[in-house]
């Protein structure tokens, strides 16, 4: 299956561009480099004479878009560029003065050429100190990636045997893996995350194919406490076919042992629980003393499934020097994007935004996350090139996507100044299918230089960038007294998991919910998982779709 992302492919040049290249090759591009001016932000423009304002040679206008002819260097505006090419044969290709992008005067359209883009970007390297804008090389070989955890899929076949021998007492015809969890005293934060994790393909495959064998684990370690063992117990219970609500008491006790500071009957944060759970799995299973900065090599199931790599670029706005750091992550925490209102015009940041008019979207939040952020004057960072503290720009991007992507919406605002916390109830619209390409490091870094068709860093085309949501943890109510509910998607039907009660719901209900944690999985894993759950027949179409299967509490 071709994974070629259309935005990376080289658009076909128009015949004028093709003609130009045949006749002039790269000479024009190289000469152009002398006329290019660069800024620390990554913008390139054509500036032939530093003191003169560029003007159209036919109308002397200086406003709007101006084009610099690659043959004769004359400048024309967008209204007259076509005229220039008509009166001068062969003068068809020009360069947008402000953006340093190719334009065909006959086709009246932007055109693309990788050699041109290379020439423009090389100019940056020549002008600026090394490591400008965090680009490590003009073109890099795509790194060989180890395919993570795909071997786990084969293990799933083994586990089918275990499941087909399961208890067939099940009255309902819901798919496997749906079982209510009793609330043991404000433990909905735990139940909600567990329900989501039961349906995370890598995790589910791992535990159900007995990869963490409780007997051999007990034999191996003298330490009786093992969270993965307890997780294994729950997985077996939930996938056994028994539909009566299960009490995860032993798991709770085990988790308390490991996180003493969180051991109480108080309401906790689901996200915090999720992180702590992954951490505990890692501690038990990961290679001991694995100091590898990049968790890619960690063999524990928590990291295999959830670990990704974030890239942070800090650019000095004075000289353009960029310092890049990579940090592993198991989730991405997003601030709510409150700025966009599509239908009734823009919300003005200075006027009080009308909450009803703002539509926040997940894509908007991801945009906000990867947007260059001007660090305030009190946050000046040390620039290695300037040798002093300078105003800086920071930009985040995703270097490597995990198999399971957990997106955390920061709805709980804690203000240290006012010693107050509050919850942001703003509704967030999210898609069921998510393409993460625009947030990858290669896309973000590439966009710094304008509209280029060029990839800089190791092309991440090997990784699947298309994700499907499989679980949404929602929160309702207030900060101190709220309730967590999870919606899980099994074989394209949605089920609401509210502690002990599991009910099938319409996808509209899920879309309208107030999401807090969203779990997406790479498309390949999602569809494979759907196929494998063919042990039990699906509920019949129409009619009886609202069968609750538990309710004894």
């Amino acid at each position: 299956m071709s994974k070629q992302n259309p935005s990376y492919t080289n658009p076909k040049p128009c015949k004028h561009l093709a003609d130009y290249k045949l006749r002039h090759g790269l000479n024009g591009f190289k000469t152009l480099q002398n006329c290019l001016k660069t800024t620390p932000y990554g913008r390139t423009s054509v500036s032939k004479h530093k003191s003169e304002t560029p003007r159209c040679s036919l109308c002397f206008g200086y406003q709007g878009r101006l084009y610099f002819c690659l043959i004769c260097s004359s400048i024309t505006c967008s209204s007259h560029a076509n005229e220039h090419s008509q009166s001068h044969h062969g003068h068809e290709i020009a360069v947008d003065v402000e953006r340093a992008e190719l334009y065909c005067c006959v086709c009246r359209d932007q055109v693309y050429d990788p050699d041109f883009d290379r020439a423009v970007v090389s100019k940056h390297f020549m002008d600026m100190p090394s490591n400008v804008n965090g680009v490590e090389g003009v073109v890099e070989e795509s790194n060989k990636r180890r395919r993570l955890g795909l071997g786990l899929e084969l293990e799933w076949k083994r586990s089918k045997r275990l499941i087909s021998m399961a208890d067939r007492r099940a009255k309902s015809i819901f798919p496997l893996g749906l079982r209510g969890l009793n609330n043991l005293g404000n433990t909905c934060f735990m139940n909600s995350v567990l329900q989501a994790l039961f349906h995370a393909p890598p995790l589910r495959n791992y535990f159900l194919s007995d990869r963490h064998n409780r007997q051999s684990c007990r034999r191996r370690s003298s330490d009786r406490l093992c969270l993965p063992c307890d997780i294994d117990v729950i997985f077996s219970a939930v996938f056994s076919g028994d539909r009566t609500p299960y009490s995860p008491a032993r798991f709770l006790y085990s988790w308390w042992q490991h996180s003493e500071n969180l051991a109480s009957y108080e309401q906790q944060d689901a996200h915090e629980f999720f992180i702590s759970m992954l951490d505990q799995i890692h501690v038990k299973e990961g290679k001991s003393g694995n100091q590898d900065k990049d968790n890619r090599d960690c063999q524990c199931i928590a990291h295999k499934a959830f670990s990704g790599l974030l890239r942070s670029d800090v650019t000095c706005t004075t000289c353009g020097f960029t310092s890049t750091t990579y940090d592993p992550c198991v989730d991405i925490s997003l601030n709510l994007d409150m700025s966009f209102c599509p239908s009734t015009g823009m919300t003005n940041r200075t006027t009080k935004p009308n909450e009803n008019a703002i539509i926040s979207t997940l894509l908007g939040c991801l945009d906000l996350f990867t947007r260059p952020e001007k660090l305030g004057p009190d946050q000046k960072l040390y620039c290695q090139n300037c040798q002093e503290r300078r105003n800086s720009l920071k930009q985040m991007s995703i270097r490597r996507l995990p198999i399971v992507l957990c997106l955390h919406i920061k709805r709980f605002e804690h203000s240290t100044i006012r010693k107050m916390s509050r919850k942001i109830d703003q509704y967030l619209q999210f898609p069921f299918s998510l393409d993460m390409t625009p947030y990858l490091s290669s896309s973000i870094v590439r966009n710094r230089f304008g509209n280029r068709i060029f990839t800089f860093e190791g092309d991440e085309s090997e990784t699947c960038t298309e994700f499907e949501v499989f679980a949404v943890v929602t929160h309702s109510g207030m900060l101190e007294s709220g309730h967590y509910v999870t919606y899980v998607r099994v074989r394209n039907r949605w089920y609401k998991c509210d502690d002990a009660w599991i009910t099938e719901v319409d996808e509209g209900v899920v879309r309208a919910s107030q999401c807090y944690l969203m779990y997406y999985v790479q498309k390949g894993f999602y569809y494979k998982a759907s196929e494998d759950l063919s042990c039990l027949p699906m509920s019949p179409p129409g009619g009886e779709s609202y069968l609750p299967i538990a309710g004894c509490c």
């Binding site: 304002t53 086709c107 009246r108 359209d109 932007q110 599509p342 015009g345 823009m346 940041r349 947007r371």
Partner: protein
């Protein structure tokens, strides 16, 4: 013959320009020379992204391309389509901020 002798010379755009640069042009030249224009452009870009204007223009472009078909649209078409709406929908606060910056610049440049 005689009328042609008295006919005033054909106006030449080039000569006309050299006579009298408008105030707008002078300001523009001063802004560019001092590098202030570039700073103002960066500021403007930042503000237009923050308030969602860029996203709205993107949405307009996408809708237009969808309607016309990806291969039937040129950059020129897009610019003509979104220019009126784009110009009209710039928030007043952004306009005010930039005008203030330009005013400040002019005051300091006049000194």
């Amino acid at each position: 013959m005689r009328p042609s002798v008295n006919r005033p010379p054909t106006p030449d755009a080039r000569l006309d320009r050299e006579k009298e640069p408008s105030v707008l042009e002078i300001i523009n030249i001063k802004l560019i020379e001092s590098g202030e224009k570039e700073r103002l452009m960066e500021l403007l870009r930042e503000r237009l992204i923050e308030c969602g204007w860029k996203d709205e223009m993107k949405a307009l472009c996408r809708a237009f391309v969808k309607k016309k078909g990806r291969n039937n649209v040129t950059v020129d078409d897009l610019v003509h389509v979104i220019m009126p709406k784009g110009r009209a929908s710039i928030p007043d606060s952004v306009k005010a901020e930039l005008l203030q910056r330009i005013r400040t610049f002019l005051v300091s440049a006049a000194v």
